[in-house]
């Protein structure tokens, strides 16, 4: 690594960014939307400011207006001073000069923020060329290599000729950061930079951002909804709600003594790893009862393969997994993207063929099972999908969606009985009965996921499979949906497979946790056992990578992480 150049310049104390009384309105078909309402913020050189809030709070709009990246329908007023230049009202060449050179942006989804059809060096060169038309190809490549080295891309001289799809998600995000560095931006706006990444990769990107700040004195605005990320990285936090900054404080102060009710609620809604473990909340008698209950799902040496392209070997997504879910038990399956957790869930629901081993679901062997034997099984299994936005037929009302399984599996029910059942379930998921006649698009994400749950439970299943049911939701909404899930599970006593990438979420719900790594179950046990005494190095890394929403504790964890897995630099 190159030598650190502490660049927090001791010069004039002018902030890198001063937003004053920013107002952004959007003209939409439904009238004007006031997205940002009188926001004032400053960011000092070398400061990391986290702007937190839930979806629709105006945090992303604020961030984008710093680069003048608002759509044409937006109207901004107030002032945004980036190293002395006002961005509001700036256009054309002067705005372009500012973009990249003074302030640069890192996007949420690194896969779509890089152009798939151009090599990396070319894309890095576009920014450089925009600021210096006379720059030669040789100079561009030299700068690109330098920047990629600084963000820890191995073998940059060879890899600048590669295309984005040849890099992993974390590497793509590193490349995005390198692009900001190559242009010499002193302010980086990072819009949810780690949301799309796995937790172990997230830890590395957060470390990189901190490292960039330390070495180059770069100021960072971090837009995020993840309180753990805030606790890990931020110096100062601004909490946004409905377009306003409602609270702004140094990070430790904010977490220790939040002044606003909303901030307190927000913090309380964040699941904290190791607190409130579902297994620990059970009475010893309940624990014992679970230990001896009959298994509902039993997998032994389960293998699931996806056929390869013509003439290529099949892809083995699940490689010999042993697991069992007992009646009344919630089994949490944790793993990163591509670990095979969704595949296992689908196989249990009979949506995926097994290629080896054995999988018994509710007494039926799924290996080589015939479709007509799966059907009676399906009415005993409920399924909740990840994305509430796409798992509903947009042409059916909520009532019809919930009643659909009844139509398929319980034909002897009269229309009136069906309606009664639908209303009963809507009540169970805490939605007004009048929602029966609404369409999915009229509901919020959280409400849709409640309907999803109602639909999964309508047949009174013995087993519920929930695949990342809350990962598309805001934290406070997630908390209420998880509470609902917990309550319904206790009341109805169904067994559940809860699939998630978030260990903290899983721990609050699942009695037993299994950790998947590339199709293999590397660890399983009761929540507290797995979290407090992880046996497998991967589990240890997973736990250590997950930032907790407490800056003091997180700083300690970060040091422990550095000790255990080696710090960068």
């Amino acid at each position: 690594m190159s030598a650190p150049s502490p660049a927090i310049d001791p010069g004039p104390a002018e902030p890198r960014l001063r937003i004053e009384d920013l107002d952004v309105r959007f003209a939409t078909d439904g009238g004007q939307v006031h997205a940002v309402d009188g926001v004032s913020l400053t960011v000092e050189p070398g400061e990391i400011l986290a702007v937190v809030g839930e979806s629709g709070s105006g945090k992303s709009v604020t961030a984008r207006s710093v680069l003048g990246l608002l759509p044409e329908t937006a109207e901004a007023s107030g002032s945004i001073l980036v190293t002395g230049t006002d961005v509001v009202g700036l256009s054309g060449k002067r705005l372009r000069t500012l973009r990249g050179e003074d302030v640069s942006m890192v996007f949420q989804e690194p896969s779509s923020a890089l152009n798939p059809v151009f090599p990396i060096w070319w894309q890095m060169g576009e920014g450089l060329r925009a600021h210096d038309p006379k720059i030669t190809k040789k100079q561009i490549r030299a700068k690109a290599i330098e920047a990629l080295t600084a963000v820890g891309i191995p073998d940059p001289a060879e890899r600048i000729d590669r295309y984005p799809h040849e890099f992993s998600g974390g590497q793509k995000q590193r490349i995005m950061i390198a692009m900001a560095l190559a242009l010499g931006a002193e302010l980086i706006v990072a819009d949810e930079p780690t949301t799309a990444l796995d937790v172990t990769v997230q830890a590395e990107i957060l470390a990189l951002l901190r490292d960039i700040r330390d070495r180059f004195g770069t100021s960072i605005i971090l837009i995020t909804h993840n309180m753990g990320v805030v606790a890990d990285l931020a110096d100062t936090v601004a909490v946004m709600r409905s377009g306003k900054v409602i609270e702004r404080a140094p990070v430790r102060e904010l977490f220790a003594s939040p002044q606003q009710e909303y901030t307190r609620e927000l913090l309380a809604a964040v699941p904290h790893l190791g607190r409130r473990s579902a297994w620990s909340t059970l009475e010893p008698a309940q624990q014992q009862a679970l230990e001896v209950a009959a298994p509902v799902v039993e997998a032994q040496g389960l293998v699931i393969e996806y056929p390869g392209r013509l003439g290529r070997p099949a892809f083995r997504a699940v490689k010999g997994v042993d697991l069992s879910i007992r009646a009344g038990e919630v089994y949490g399956l944790v793993g990163e993207s591509g670990s095979g957790k969704t595949t296992i869930g689908r196989a249990i629901a009979g949506l995926e063929r097994t290629a080896g081993g054995s999988l018994r679901v509710l007494g039926t062997e799924m290996r080589g099972v015939k479709e007509r034997d799966v059907k009676p099984l399906r009415r005993r299994i409920g399924f909740v999908f990840q994305d509430p936005a796409t798992s509903f037929n947009p042409h059916l009302t909520i009532g019809e969606c919930i009643a659909e399984p009844l139509v398929v599996h319980a034909r002897d029910l009269s229309a009136r009985e069906r309606t009664a059942k639908v209303e009963e379930l809507l009540e169970a998921v805490e939605l007004p009965g009048a929602y029966r006649g609404r369409y999915p698009h009229e509901l919020s994400g959280g409400q849709r996921q409640r309907v999803s749950l109602a639909r999964a439970l309508v047949l009174g299943p013995e087993l519920l499979i929930a695949d990342e049911p809350t990962s598309a939701l805001d934290v406070s909404v997630q908390a209420t949906v998880l509470d609902l899930f917990r309550r319904l599970q206790e009341e109805l006593g169904f067994a559940a497979l809860f699939i998630s990438h978030d260990l903290a979420v899983v721990d609050t719900l699942a009695h037993r946790i299994g950790v998947l790594l590339r199709g293999e179950l590397v660890e399983s046990g009761h929540g507290p056992e797995v979290l407090q005494d992880p046996q497998h190095p991967y589990t240890r890394r997973l736990i250590a990578s997950l930032p907790v929403p407490d800056p003091v504790e997180q700083a300690r964890r970060r040091e422990a992480y550095a000790e255990q897995f080696g710090a960068r630099d």
């Binding site: 690594m1 990246l69 942006m105 996007f107 989804e109 779509s112 152009n115 073998d155 190095p537």
Partner: protein, 377 residues
């Protein structure tokens, strides 16, 4: 029972997808990219090329049997004019009384030797017709594609850029008119204005009579007039060939150009909204360049695939264009031989059209691979 606290295999290096930064110095040698992607691309092109063979074989088989469902070529051509006895004699002579499968093998054998049979109506070897007129059609389709691209890509880009304003609206109406107006109507209109009215361009044909005479002096003439004109280096001859091509190319190109325009517009609107365009914008790249470079190339990927299919449509359009402009190509001849009920000729021509489609799809696949690095595997 599942074994609790099981321990998996060696997790080293498996714990993260992102390679840790290496402590070593980066190698300073320039990258050898050509070698790396070249291998993948070369393999891809080879595989695609070899796939033409089974495609053509299947097409040939299907065409052969479809043509025979209605009977043999002799009955078709001479059916009402000979007595049944005479007919049977002629059929036996030509071998059409043998089992169909044997005839099929015989036909295949002939094709492998480059012998597609002889036409009934004018006793020409089919292979000669294919070569001569196939070249004319390929030339026309090529011009048509060029015109379609010249119309569709820039205008589609402009429409996407000024989306939902009146310029966009006008271009969209133009596009609809382009592909909704029948080719022969556009052709007649063009002829009326530019040939008959203004007298700028020739009315019909591929070349003037004088040009044809000059062409006749060339040794080993190719089926492509443009190529031969270039080889002779005769500028007036070149203009002769090109001026004959302009109106048919526009008539045919408008049809597909309208479709390209809509496709480019839709896809560009999609890519202009992609985060990577915003990402480049956030680094100071100018709007014009965002449109012409950053958004255009990814937008072309789906278009190129559709283009392959469009070429098949264009061949259909070429039949009409050729008839309108008396362009002596396969379409023109196909109409003639159909009228003469000459099945041997028709079978050969249909096959040739299929081969043109298969080959142009191959070319399209190669272009797609050149544009989209993810295709190369």
């Amino acid at each position: 029972m599942s074994p609790d606290r099981s321990s998996g295999p060696d997790p080293e290096g498996a714990t993260t997808q992102v390679a840790a930064p290496s402590g070593e110095d980066a190698p300073s040698t320039p990258a050898r990219r050509e070698k790396r992607t070249g291998g993948g691309l070369g393999r891809y092109i080879l595989v695609r090329f070899l796939l033409i063979i089974p495609t053509v074989f299947i097409l040939m088989t299907v065409v052969f049997f479809l043509m025979r469902i209605t009977g043999d070529p002799i009955t078709a051509a001479l059916g009402g004019r000979l007595t049944p006895d005479q007919l049977a004699e002629r059929r036996a002579e030509a071998g059409y009384d043998r089992p169909l499968f044997i005839q099929y093998l015989d036909y295949l054998g002939g094709v492998l030797r480059g012998d597609f049979g002889t036409t009934y109506s004018d006793r020409q070897p089919v292979s000669r017709i294919l070569l001569e007129y196939g070249g004319a059609t390929a030339e026309l389709v090529l011009y048509g594609v060029i015109v379609a691209l010249l119309i569709g890509v820039p205008l589609g880009m402009i429409a996407a850029r000024v989306r939902d304003r009146w310029g966009d609206l006008a271009l969209r109406v133009f596009a609809i008119l382009g592909y909704a107006t029948p080719v022969f109507f556009v052709g007649l209109l063009l002829k009326l204005v530019f040939s008959v009215g203004l007298g700028w361009l020739p009315v019909a044909g591929r070349i003037s009579t004088r040009g044809e005479l000059t062409m006749g002096t060339i040794l080993n003439p190719s089926p492509f007039y443009l190529l031969d004109a270039l080889r002779l280096g005769d500028l007036s001859l070149l203009w002769d060939v090109l001026s004959h091509a302009i109106l048919p190319a526009i008539a045919l190109g408008l049809l597909t150009g309208g479709i390209f325009l809509r496709l480019v517009r839709t896809n560009m609107i999609g890519t202009l909204e992609m985060p990577y365009v915003d990402s480049a914008r956030s680094r100071g790249v100018a709007e014009g360049r965002l449109t012409t470079r950053h958004a255009l190339r990814p937008a072309l990927i789906p278009i190129i695939t559709v283009m392959g299919m469009q070429i098949a449509m264009m061949l259909g359009g070429a039949v009409l264009t050729e008839t309108t402009f008396e362009w002596n190509g396969l379409g023109f001849m196909l109409a003639e031989y159909m009228a003469a009920r000459d099945y041997v000729a028709v079978q050969g021509i249909v096959m040739m059209l299929a081969v043109i489609v298969a080959v142009s799809n191959f070319v399209v696949d190669v272009i797609a691979a050149l544009i989209d690095p993810r295709v190369r595997y």
